[in-house]
């Protein structure tokens, strides 16, 4: 093969390769165009519609929640927001959270579907009232301060099981589970079981729930339940988000 033949052969090879690549590109392009035209013709896939519907449902829920919260947030008084699905309870003022409590368990009397409801706390009824020290008249402020320092008044002396009696015969029952910081796993498990049985027995014997049109039972860690009781004003709106 002489030099000229080699050059011609190389040129042919290059042209062939270029043509082959072009053919592949055209085929690929045709396929993409075909797929796109099919997609346009049949409309977006069902999954997109489904995603949009889910997004709309979530946004509608958020809209309803925000508009209810806005009504409460316009007033400077604090309110409690309970996210039932998210299992969280917050003490809030004007859209800001002051305290937040994770909810361990929720039980509801109704199965009525609602997005938001607002209850109004009228009275906090503890199972046992906290014990308060008494000032002996004439003992003086120094003695009172000394007693108060020795046995400090604080959330730890608050009841952990109480009912928040709300307007229109509704009740938010706050129940406590053993603190996550106390004891070992077994003692916590045993303590938790004991408290639930105790609550059930109390419910059976007192039949207090017959007086309530609606109730929600919320189980919090003991220290959270005490802190909630400690922080409560006399009256407070409770925003329930389903």
């Amino acid at each position: 093969m002489n030099r000229q033949e080699i050059i011609i052969h190389r040129g042919t090879m290059i042209r062939t390769l270029a043509l082959g690549l072009t053919a592949v590109a055209v085929l690929l392009l045709s396929f993409i165009l075909f797929c796109r035209s099919r997609q346009v013709a049949s409309g977006p896939s069902l999954s997109e519609d489904q995603q949009l519907r889910e997004r709309i449902a979530a946004l509608s829920r958020q809209e309803k929640l925000l508009s209810t919260e806005l009504t409460l947030a316009k007033n400077p008084a604090p309110y409690i927001a309970i996210d039932i699905a998210g299992r969280r309870m917050e003490l809030r003022v004007q859209g800001r959270s002051l305290r937040s409590f994770p909810i361990a368990k929720i039980k509801r009397s109704d199965t009525e579907a609602f997005i938001t409801q607002t209850w109004l706390l009228m009275e906090a009824k503890p199972w046992e009232n906290p014990e308060r020290a008494r000032v002996v008249p004439g003992s003086g402020e120094a003695t009172s301060s000394s007693i108060a320092t020795r046995d400090p008044w604080g959330p730890k002396r608050m009841p952990a099981d109480f009912d928040l009696i709300c307007k229109d015969d509704r009740a938010l029952e706050v129940r406590s589970l053993p603190s996550t910081q106390s004891g070992n796993r077994f003692t916590r498990w045993f303590g938790s079981g004991y408290r639930q049985v105790r609550d059930w027995a109390r419910d059976v014997f007192s039949r207090r729930r017959r007086d309530y049109r609606e109730f929600i039972e919320i189980w919090l860690a003991e220290e959270d339940a005490q802190l909630l009781f400690w922080s409560l004003p006399k009256q407070i709106p409770i925003l329930l988000v389903n």
């Binding site: 045709s30 958020q62 947030a73 008084a77 003490l91 004007q94 003086g140 301060s145 400090p152 407070i236």
Partner: protein, 228 residues
């Protein structure tokens, strides 16, 4: 280009076949323009005869409108929180904070009510020394406040209750400043700074001198106070 080479011929034929196939597929799959196409009539309902494309477009429009409303509501909720100074009192941690929006301007240790009960000798009158919870407003600010001792203070000390109000005045016990927030409750200073952080008061909120000075400077009548 020479077509004498069989490989070249095959490739050229391949390109032509591919192009024809592409055009054919394109022609078969292309959407037919309809009167109800979403571009022309995007306000059709989801049950429109325009087909699934119109339905999707309607869903998208609905989602966009909802997003816009949610954003507006979020902004309105954020605007509800005061932009000016506010006082937050966390009685469980004995902390008082002066906030400006999300910023902490001043923070100090405070004392609140001791939770004790007192009754007079007849048992007809009783007091519970709790700090109230909830929302309050600064009602007034006082420099060098004078404490007008209430009845319970005399009963606690075992002293006779004076009838003359002027005899109840006791200066220099409330610190340099006092901020009134209603029903006889004040945020004020103290002589007993070692007791700060313990709940030893009769319901007022005691703070250290430095924090009190900052609170006094920032607070104006109407400044919100949240005690929790």
């Amino acid at each position: 280009m020479s077509l004498r080479n069989p490989l070249t011929t095959a490739c050229t034929t391949g390109i032509l076949v591919a192009a024809v196939l592409g055009l054919f597929l394109q022609a078969c799959g292309a959407p037919k323009p309809s009167a109800g196409s979403p571009q022309k009539n995007s306000r059709r309902t989801m049950t429109s005869a325009a087909g699934p494309q119109a339905e999707t477009e309607a869903l998208r429009a609905q989602a966009r409108a909802l997003e816009s409303r949610v954003r507006k509501l979020e902004a309105a909720t954020n605007r509800a929180y005061p932009g000016g100074p506010v006082i937050l009192v966390d009685t469980s941690k004995s902390k008082i904070r002066l906030m400006l929006g999300e910023r902490v301007i001043a923070e100090g240790t405070c004392s609140s009510g001791n939770g004790m009960e007192l009754s007079d000798s007849t048992g007809k009158r009783s007091w519970t020394f709790d700090t109230p919870r909830g929302y309050f407003r600064v009602l007034s600010k006082v420099t060098n406040p004078v404490w007008v001792r209430p009845d319970w203070s005399y009963i606690e000390e075992g002293e006779p209750i004076p009838k003359d109000r002027s005899k109840r005045a006791e200066p220099n016990v409330l610190g340099d400043y006092a901020i009134a927030f209603g029903n006889g409750y004040f945020i004020h200073g103290t002589l007993y700074t070692r007791l700060l952080g313990a709940n030893v008061t009769h319901g007022c909120i005691r703070v250290d001198d430095l924090t009190l000075k900052k609170l006094y400077a920032a607070a104006q009548p109407g400044t919100p106070i949240w005690i929790y």
